[in-house]
Amino acid sequence: MKGISLSSVIQVINLEKQSCDIEARAGGQCGQLHFREGTLVDALADGLAGEDAAYEILGWDDPEFDVSTEHSPRDRTIEADLTQMLLEIARRRDEELEESARSAAAQDSVAPHAAPPAPPLVESASGNGRGGAQAEPDIMAEMEAALAEVRVEPEIEAAPEPHGAPGRAPAPPTRGAPPAAAVRSGLSAAGLKRVVQLAKDGLGDALLSADLFSSADGTSYVGVNSRPAVCALVNQVTERLNRAFDKGGLPPLGRYYMAELDGSGLLLVAPCGDLQLVLVVDTGRVQLGLLINVVLPEVLAALEEVSPG
């Protein structure tokens, strides 16, 4: 039997005052718990008996077990209260988890120093005889092509490697590598992942892809179905929008902008300090109300937390 925890079953037996026997197995060990009218009266486990055996079994990690309602008569060897025993087990587990977390935190400390910014991916359109309006279609065509590839089941991925060494033209990213670029930039890897995880949790199947990338060079730090090409292109679009707004006397971009894609897609970009979050969402699978009013505020709050400055 898998998908059910021993402690849940025991608590129901206790609450409903049921009588039954449980045979549990874990890591080559086996043991028995005997309940009478919801009270744990006896336990046996690998040479142990009574309370010691009960603590042993209840402390096993994810044991397999069988419950038999045809119980045999037992003498009472355990006087301790079951709830207290379960609380004690939970306390011991919490202590173990805290210890693990402390060890992990010690290994996860990050030395903050910024990577030198990479040069722009394309030359500025101004002053070369080509107006911005003429340059845009190329970018949008590339973007559409990149977005058209996004149609696979989302999986949270470790951040791809940065696009080549600082100061050089971008190289194709390697998927599944550690978030080296993020670490070099002094960003919290856990914080970056949390931003994308919140989007994934909130949108589920509707999230076609997500990337959290650096505005300095379009490097994706972490993503779901990460699309480095989209990051690079969106980075340019954001930069051009800001320039256009500036020239047009408009206020700069706010917390996010959106573009409806052909079909039922929606591109959402949230620039925040030196970071940008780009989401591609299937609007056929999620209501805009949920996206705008519920998921986005939470994601933006997390993004603001993780973004330096």
């Binding site: 925890s5 079953v9 129901v12 419950v67 209501q287």
Partner: protein, 286 residues
């Protein structure tokens, strides 16, 4: 004061997550989650080989041929609020002939999910978030009630009067007689007496919120007699819900989703109360 209320999430963790997010995102001063909180069935995933399973579900038998496909299917089952158990064919046959064991496992899974939600609520609401009250529905087993009594971020409000920012909120998961023989149903006379006793703790009805999900003669009489400012009530499965007036009481009922809806959806209502009056309300869907 803004109150965000949702009901009938029936075991769906995505809906529960949305509820927690919505309380903050809508700027609510208090969140109220009403039942039914728990799912309706346990689905068996019968292991037929090292990487193959047979899953009888909604009248169809799904043949699953990889752990990934199983995770996808069981994820779908969980998202819709139901529960699943992986079993050997022998365990499956044993359970088929032992209803008391099936019920034990069902109840254990129900508690397991509520325990997961309690952890999730503590994480998502944090220490500084608005208070969030929760009460089971008339179809929820009583074994979940005590889980809300341990001082987490989800505060129990069933069968009691709680004070919220100058308002009093009365909640009861009990219902009158139904055709389904629900766990918390009772005859109308007993229900009326119970609700009467509960509502006797209310001071000014202009500052009273009544959470009575089920509709019966007893609840109608209570509303008519006490005339609270607002009453939240459930709607029949697939019902459109809506707002109506019962004397001075504004009755608000969020839409109730159909079980077979493709995606789990959270239906709620955000109400703004000011000086003993309903200033505004909006039904929400997420």
């Amino acid at each position: 004061m803004k109150v965000f209320t949702a009901s009938g999430i029936e075991g769906s963790t995505p809906c529960f997550r949305r509820f927690l997010s919505a309380v903050r995102s809508y700027g609510a001063d208090v969140g109220v989650l009403l039942g039914d909180l728990t799912g309706r069935k346990v689905v068996s995933a019968i292991r037929t080989g090292p990487s193959t399973w047979t899953v009888p579900l909604d009248g169809k038998v799904h043949e699953v041929d990889s752990p990934t496909a199983l995770a996808e299917l069981t994820g779908h089952i969980s998202d819709h609020g139901d529960y699943w158990l992986e079993q050997t064919p022998e365990e499956y046959e044993h359970l088929r002939s032992n209803q008391s064991l099936v019920e034990l496992y069902f109840k254990s899974l129900v508690r397991q999910r509520i325990e997961e939600w309690l952890t999730l609520a503590d994480e998502k609401l944090g220490a500084d978030g608005p208070p969030v009250f929760v009460a089971p529905g008339c179809g929820d087993w009583r074994i979940i009630d005590e889980l809300f009594e341990h001082g987490g971020r989800l505060l129990p409000c069933d069968d009691r009067v709680v004070q919220i920012d100058g308002y009093q909120m009365v909640t009861s998961s009990s219902s009158g007689p139904t055709e389904w023989e629900l766990v918390r149903e009772m005859d109308d006379r007993r229900l009326y007496t119970k609700l009467l006793e509960l509502c006797s703790g209310v001071g000014d009805p202009d500052f009273a919120i009544l959470n009575l999900q089920a509709e019966s003669r007893a609840t109608q009489r209570i509303v008519k007699r006490f005339q609270p400012l607002v009453r939240f009530r459930g709607s029949a499965q697939g019902g459109n819900g809506g707002a109506s007036k019962q004397g001075r009481t504004l009755e608000l009922s969020p839409r109730s989703p159909m079980v077979e809806d493709a995606a789990p959806t959270l239906h709620g209502v955000l109400v703004q109360l000011e000086g003993g009056a309903v200033k505004d309300y909006v039904f929400t869907e997420a």
